[in-house]
């Protein structure tokens, strides 16, 4: 079987695609990539459909070994390079496709510039989907490999035993990744559960991402919010990006692995165009919020989609990243990087 060996897993990488947003009515959390923009670009670089699953990396990346004739990969969402091991260690930049041949080991080191990055592999993974998705939701052991994060020694089965012959691509426009400015929020559904002073303070203040941040949500540190009429509601639905405020008044932004329903008031919801930015945040990062209306949120989402379309259209040829002499001496015919 062709596969990608996880020689050492790093920090709990998981398979993620666009998730299962269509079965929330069965109590199944949507899951899916925390940064769907980075996922899409990683997939586009290796020629995959936008919704193919990739490996979502957090904190510290894995070491892989190619157990297929060849594999084309792309790392997106971090400035960290792909370190290719061999006689001499070489570094291939992120944000471009890389062709690796059988036996080649490569690793992604620590992610010091983002909360999340993606490694896509051309052709994707030969794994049975659950409700149409490979996304891993570890709390219910759904998706990915046996419903869990990848571990040392795992073999991720690849659908493509050999990468297509084609030139390598590079994502030259990285402006989408350095998006600054306030995180935009639409008020509701339970903004009437908060005092006017609290809502004003929320938008006027800076918040910090605490260490209590995972795929389910991130707890924020900043001004405590006061409930105007209690902190229990009869459960209602939860949307990704919802800003939920439990009894202690400390907001939690709910991310991809959120439960489908919940009983705490939600002051507002981060707009869909800014949800990918949340995934990139790390503990200690600061953020502030700006209030927008739904129509502005819809326009922002259209702008984001058009922008990502342009980023993909403008992929250029990949930069050379190797000791090319050594490469050509080893394999003039295919151009594959043979194991040292």
């Amino acid at each position: 079987m062709s596969g990608l060996r996880i020689v050492s897993a790093g920090f709990a990488p998981t398979l993620q695609d666009h998730g299962r947003p269509h079965v929330q009515h069965l109590g199944v959390p949507p899951a899916g990539a925390l940064d769907p923009v980075a996922l899409r670009i990683a997939n586009a670089l290796v020629g995959n459909p936008a919704d193919a699953a990739a490996i979502e990396l957090r904190v510290m990346g894995p070491t892989f070994e190619v157990e297929a004739a060849s594999a084309r990969v792309a790392l997106v969402g971090t400035g960290a390079p792909v370190e290719i091991m061999g006689d001499r260690k070489v570094e291939a930049p992120s944000h471009q496709s890389i062709l690796l041949s059988r036996g080649r080991r490569f690793r992604v080191g620590s992610l010091s510039d983002t909360g999340v990055a993606y490694l896509a592999v051309q052709g994707g993974f030969e794994i049975e989907p659950v409700y149409g998705s490979l996304s891993t939701y570890t709390r219910a052991k759904i998706g990915g490999l046996e419903g869990r994060a990848l571990r040392d020694g795992d073999l991720l089965p690849l659908r493509q035993a050999k990468a297509d012959e084609r030139a390598e691509l590079r994502c030259t426009d990285r402006s989408w990744w350095r998006e600054g400015g306030p995180v935009r929020v639409v008020l509701g559904p339970q903004d009437d559960y908060f005092t006017a002073d609290s809502t004003a303070a929320f938008f006027a203040s800076e918040y910090n991402v605490t260490r209590e941040a995972d795929r389910m949500g991130m707890r924020l540190d900043g001004p405590v919010l006061a409930h105007a009429k209690g902190h229990d509601i009869v459960s209602d639905g939860i949307a990704t990006g919802a800003i939920q405020v439990p009894g202690n008044g400390r907001p939690i932004i709910l991310l991809a692995d959120h439960q489908t329903t919940g009983g705490y008031p939600k002051l507002g919801t981060v707009i869909s165009a800014d949800v990918p930015r949340l995934g990139r945040l790390r503990p200690g990062d600061t953020l502030h919020f700006a209030r927008v209306e739904v129509e502005e949120a819809e326009a922002a989402r259209r702008t984001l989609e058009e922008r990502v379309d342009r980023v993909v259209e403008r992929f250029g040829p990949a930069e050379p990243w190797l000791d090319e002499d050594a490469l050509y001496r080893r394999n003039l015919v295919s151009g594959f990087v043979e194991p040292g």
Binding site: G188, V234, A239, S272
Partner: protein, 251 residues
Amino acid sequence: MTETNSEPRPAPRFLSAGDAALVVEFGNAVDPAINHRVMRLGEAARAADLPGLVDLVPTLRSLMVHYDPTVTSRRAVEERLRDLMSDTGGAPVVGRLWEFPTLYGEEMGPDLEDVAKRTGLTPERVVELHAGTEYEAYMMGFMPGLAYLGIIPPELELPRRSEPRVRVPAGSVAIATNLTNVYSLESPGGWHLLGRTPVALFDLHRDPPVLLQAGDRVRFVPVGRDAYEELRDRMEACDTAFAPVQAEDRA
């Protein structure tokens, strides 16, 4: 339970949940009449096949509509839902009826004695009351496959346990407030455990993995240990497809 037309119905509220979802809130209470209005709109919206619709999540008192904002807009979704709400025709869908064999008490229902004490009933009477009612699934939530079922007989109403358990086994049949449920996965939980059913409400080896959906009806059927173990073994061997005793009725 039927709705009485004489009751004043507050107009539902459309609440924003960002730009990819909205909430239609019919009320703020655990009330079957409110839930029936939620289910009715959900059914109509599903049948109408709204462009860009991603999912409809009914809860006890509201309907969350998830949609794709690159395909449709809040305005378009809201307008369509308002049209659908003004259509009053059509009988409500009667959901599938399930019977869950349940072993009450002992290690399967470690709270049965305590519930009996606190309600002033005998354990036998608690079981009789709990198993003597047909429940409706008002909503799914908390974990994949978990249904909030109600309404339990008022004699059995108790607040949640003051100390939630760290681990409640899958299949546990439990009550709290005026609702009952079956834990679909092992998880922490604060409800009172009356018994256990061998029926898997969530099983990845089954297609589809989730058994229940909102609108379904459920009865618990007390069984002895032998019947429980026999069904459990059959379920674990996957040689029995667990089916509802009545199909959905869309008449």
